[in-house]
């Protein structure tokens, strides 16, 4: 029970509590999960802020992410090097944004990043087609895919440029009734 003292300093825990939507207990639990992913890589003592990153392949095999069709994109969106290797800060950040208490606007920002496969800050037709194919594992016929993408852009595109900018996406997703309940991961 006195473990808490040796992993993080009190200031670090305070900082984490202020910068994420987790409580102290949850942060310690997250550290345990992070350590489980790569026990030889991740030190138990984080008081000196070690600089270690767990590779993408290990993170996407977590039970919470394993079945998610967007798991690669999720991890890539939160990693600073864009390759999907997460440090503990980024790991905590990821689950904090995806937790239940994170506000809609914050989730909308990261949802946009996740669905933007070619990272051009627009959701163009190719991004949508990739999203749809991941969702349905390519069981729709190509004509249906094109039709659905067209309808999606038609519904959400406000400035008429045939792709969704962040403003279009934000405007649409904040009013989607299921967004808040589906865009969260429990850990």
């Amino acid at each position: 029970m006195g473990n808490k003292q040796t992993i993080f300093t009190d200031e670090q825990l305070d900082a984490y509590q202020d910068c994420t939507f987790f409580t102290r207990k949850e942060i310690l639990r997250l550290h345990g999960r992070y350590h489980e992913l790569a026990p030889h890589l991740v030190p138990m003592d984080y008081t000196k802020e070690p600089d270690c990153k767990v590779p993408l392949a290990l993170i996407v095999n977590m039970p919470e992410l394993k079945e998610n069709p967007f798991r690669n994109r999720i991890v890539e969106s939160f990693s600073e090097d864009g390759m999907g290797n997460l440090s503990f800060n980024e790991f905590v950040d990821m689950f904090s944004v995806l937790s239940e208490t994170a506000p809609r606007e914050l989730k909308a920002i990261y949802a946009f990043k996740i669905y933007d496969f070619n990272v051009d800050n627009y959701l163009c037709k190719e991004d949508l087609e990739k999203t749809l194919n991941r969702l349905t594992k390519e069981e729709l016929t190509p004509e249906e895919v094109v039709l659905v993408c067209e309808k999606t852009i038609e519904e959400a595109d406000l400035d008429g440029d045939n792709k969704l900018s962040f403003a279009d996406f934000e405007n649409m997703i904040l009013r989607a009734p299921d967004f808040l309940s589906t865009f969260h991961i429990r850990i």
């Binding site: 910068c19 990272v119 969702l135 249906e144 519904e155 440029d161 649409m172 997703i173 989607a176």
Partner: protein, 750 residues
């Protein structure tokens, strides 16, 4: 790097964009919205540089600075964890905030510190409270396995358990507790006099002598015998007033007010719970609004951790998309219908609706006959044998259950011929099933009352048939009790005796029957109707059987585990997906309909039908409602005058008129807002097109002037650190700005 790091994980991303667009006030305000105040000084530096270089851009930069001040104060007030920045930056922000705070006055510092501590306290309290939540672990498991649609059913069940518990606590503390503690607290109970007049004979129904074991079982299952004269039923509460040393407790008044209170409490709680869902459903003006976007971007349940569940979710999403595409096709088809086809369709629909009404009438009539037969069988002294007697007692329940089993199958078969769109088909069938379920209870009660007020010699002396029903409320309470018990038995029996064998047959037997029958589907609407039906019975029955809420709490508690096991072991979730957002609204809407339907019988029996003379708290009053006017007439003059004024017609009419006016105003306001939203949307599109057009013209003009003056080429470009939103940007604004590439046709960003 001063640019927004959130957006640029990949530094090699490039966008064909126009540097002019970077200067637009709309883009600048978007950037500032994403940054916190600590990046402010750096930004000021860059904007100063720009200001020195562009005379024409001065007005834009001024607005930019004004915006920047506004955004700075706004972002300062937002908690750090809501900013979309990486963890390291957030921690830097936090330390910067703390340093800034050192400079503030001690009062401000104290305010900030207490704010921070309170926030942390609130988070911890919420976490602690969530551990107290019932079934937290089970629901988490179900969510991971089956997604949010089925989860909503189980959280609805949990809500009903809490509701029933609270209702029972309310009724217990105001009706039963005074009676129980009266002897211990020095209270003196005055009972209603059994003055031996015509209607006030209540023969005891306790069995005498040696009682067979199976008679105990009969009593337990039917609420008669040894259970009849207990706290369970209305007839036991004979107390009129309880005289405590410090006050007199008027039990009939408390009984009546507790009834009103629990109905009102249920109404308030349900409305509060459905408020968010209702608002959202109202805002979406068409039901097809954003349906594709919602499915693609918010369709996948990120909570799913189970492989089977993922597969199911994928197939249900696929099904939804295909259904939507088909809806579009059908809409097209409907629009193309000729007049002859329309007439034919309307005729078919009319005939089928008549058929549905006929089926409903037949069911209601059979319930009526069954009730009368059951009542007569209970009254007669000739007992055939144990099992047959029990069947006769439960005959109304059996008939209701069978009707509720057959009619949904019939309705879903009929709807195929009526040629509606798929979404409407589902909703319409559901409405019919809801109507059937909830009205069958009403029919049962109506037939009971017709029996109770039916005397041989014409009109009844006491207002009810006192020879057969010396205590009719207890009898009604017994019927409600039987309905509840039977409902519970059926749910468990169906799970054990129908679903388990079905699963065994389908899994291990390879015959045609197994293939045709298929595996059991967990159909959410039917399950919800089941528990709403049980809850409606509870609401009606609590007046006659005050312990019924406690029984229902226990019943729903066990149903949770039964359904959970059934779901995990037997069923696969329905391929017809049930969205979590609309489902909450649907559940609470049906529950509300049940509540309103439950109020009707209670109101009628309290206000219209004469209360029993032989039992219960309302012996000294004609109807149960009368206790209220008689109490009011004993109040002091001032309060009495006030209450009379509130109940007068003048007040009621003016209140009604004012409410209508307020509603009319609010509806008009909502319509106006909708119109404004549409106008603004069109305006946005137009502005976007204007912007693109102007920028194209500007770029063409620049190209022409650049071609004409080839001297001003190859200026050193100070490129921004990250190329995503900006391309190379020159600080020299005097010459024409080069573009590294021609502007594409559609390159707008906000």
């Amino acid at each position: 790097m001063e640019v927004d790091t959130v957006f640029f994980t990949d530094h090699s991303g490039r966008v064909n964009s126009n540097p002019l667009l970077d200067q637009l006030p709309s883009y600048q305000s978007l950037l500032y919205r994403r940054k916190s105040s600590t990046a402010g000084p750096k930004r000021k530096g860059s904007s100063k540089a720009r200001r020195s270089s562009s005379g024409s851009g001065k007005w834009a930069v001024n607005t930019v600075n004004r915006n920047e001040e506004k955004q700075k104060t706004l972002t300062l007030q937002r908690p750090i964890r809501e900013l979309a920045k990486s963890m390291a930056e957030k921690r830097r922000n936090k330390t910067q905030c703390l340093e800034n705070d050192q400079g503030l006055s001690s009062w401000r510092q104290w305010k900030q510190n207490t704010g921070r501590h309170l926030r942390r306290l609130r988070d911890d309290a919420q976490e602690w409270l969530s551990y107290l939540q019932l079934w937290r672990g089970d629901i988490h498991l179900i969510e991971g396995m089956f997604g949010t649609g089925i989860l909503s059913y189980f959280s609805f069940l949990r809500f009903l358990v809490m509701l029933n518990l609270i209702i029972f606590v309310l009724v217990f503390s105001f009706v039963m507790l005074p009676i129980i503690i009266a002897p211990h607290a020095g209270g003196n109970i005055t009972y209603n006099q059994n003055d031996g007049s015509n209607c006030s004979v209540y023969p005891s129904s306790a069995r005498r002598g040696l009682v067979n074991f199976h008679e105990h079982i009969t009593d337990l299952l039917s609420g008669g015998g040894f259970l009849e004269q207990t706290y369970l039923f209305y007839g036991y509460y004979k107390a009129d007033k309880i005289h405590f040393p410090w006050t007199t407790y008027n039990l009939p008044l408390a009984y009546l007010l507790a009834t009103v209170a629990y109905l009102f409490l249920s109404l308030v709680w349900i409305v509060k719970r459905s408020a968010t869902g209702f608002k959202r459903n109202l805002i979406q003006d068409e039901d097809r609004f954003q349906s594709f976007c919602n499915k693609i971007f918010a369709g996948w349940d990120f909570c799913i951790t189970n492989e089977n569940a993922a597969r199911l979710k994928r197939s249900s999403l696929l099904y939804e998309l295909k259904t939507d595409l088909e809806e579009e096709r059908i809409k097209q088809k409907i629009a193309d219908r000729t007049r002859k086809q329309k007439c034919r369709i309307y005729l078919i629909r009319f005939i089928l609706n008549l058929f549905v009404i006929g089926v409903l009438a037949a069911c209601f009539y059979s319930i009526y006959i069954a009730t009368i037969f059951s009542q007569e069988a209970q009254m007669s002294t000739v007992k055939v044998n144990f099992i047959v007697d029990l069947i006769f007692e439960y005959l109304p329940s059996i008939v209701i259950t069978m009707a509720n089993f057959i009619t949904p199958l019939l309705f879903s078969f009929i709807i195929n011929f009526e040629d509606y769109s798929p979404a409407f088909e589902i909703r319409f069938t559901l409405m019919r099933c809801v109507f059937m379920r909830l009205t069958s209870i009403g029919v049962l009660l109506f037939s009971l009352w017709s029996q109770i007020t039916n005397c041989e010699k014409g009109s009844c002396v006491c207002g009810y048939n006192d020879k057969l029903y010396s205590c009719w409320e207890t009898r009604v309470g017994q019927e409600m009790y039987k309905l509840t018990i039977f409902d519970f038995i059926i749910i468990i029996a169906v799970t054990i005796f129908v679903e388990f064998p079905r699963k065994l047959i389908v899994n291990y037997c390879d015959c045609g029957l197994a293939k045709w029958w298929g595996q059991q589907e967990f159909s959410i609407p039917q399950n919800v109707l089941e528990i709403v039906y049980g809850q409606t019975i509870c609401w009606i029955g609590t007046f006659y059987c005050p312990v019924l809420p406690a029984i229902c709490t226990i019943k729903y508690f066990f149903i949770f585990y039964v359904k959970k096991v059934s779901l995990i072991k037997n069923c696969r979730p329905s391929t017809r997906p049930f969205r979590a957002s609309s489902s909450n609204f649907f559940f609470l809407g049906v529950l509300l309909i049940g509540l309103l339907l439950a109020c009707v019988p209670v109101t009628v029996s309290v206000a219209q039908i004469n209360s029993s003379r032989a039992c219960g708290p309302f012996v000294n009053y004609t109807t149960s409602w009368e206790v209220l006017p008689s109490t009011v007439s004993k109040l002091p003059q001032g309060i009495k005058g006030l209450l009379f004024a509130l109940a007068s017609e003048a007040f009621a009419v003016s209140f009604f008129v004012i409410t209508c006016l307020a509603m009319f105003y609010v509806i008009a306001l909502a319509g106006a807002h909708k119109r404004v939203i549409n106008q603004l949307r069109e305006q946005l599109v137009m502005e976007g097109r204007d912007k693109r057009f102007l920028i194209q013209k500007l770029c063409q003009a620049q190209k022409i002037s650049a071609i004409r003056s080839p001297v001003s080429k190859s200026q050193p470009r100070t490129s921004r650190s990250s190329p995503s939103y900006h391309t190379s940007f020159s600080n020299n604004f005097d010459e024409a700005v080069f573009l590294a590439h021609s502007p594409p046709d559609s390159s707008t960003h906000v």
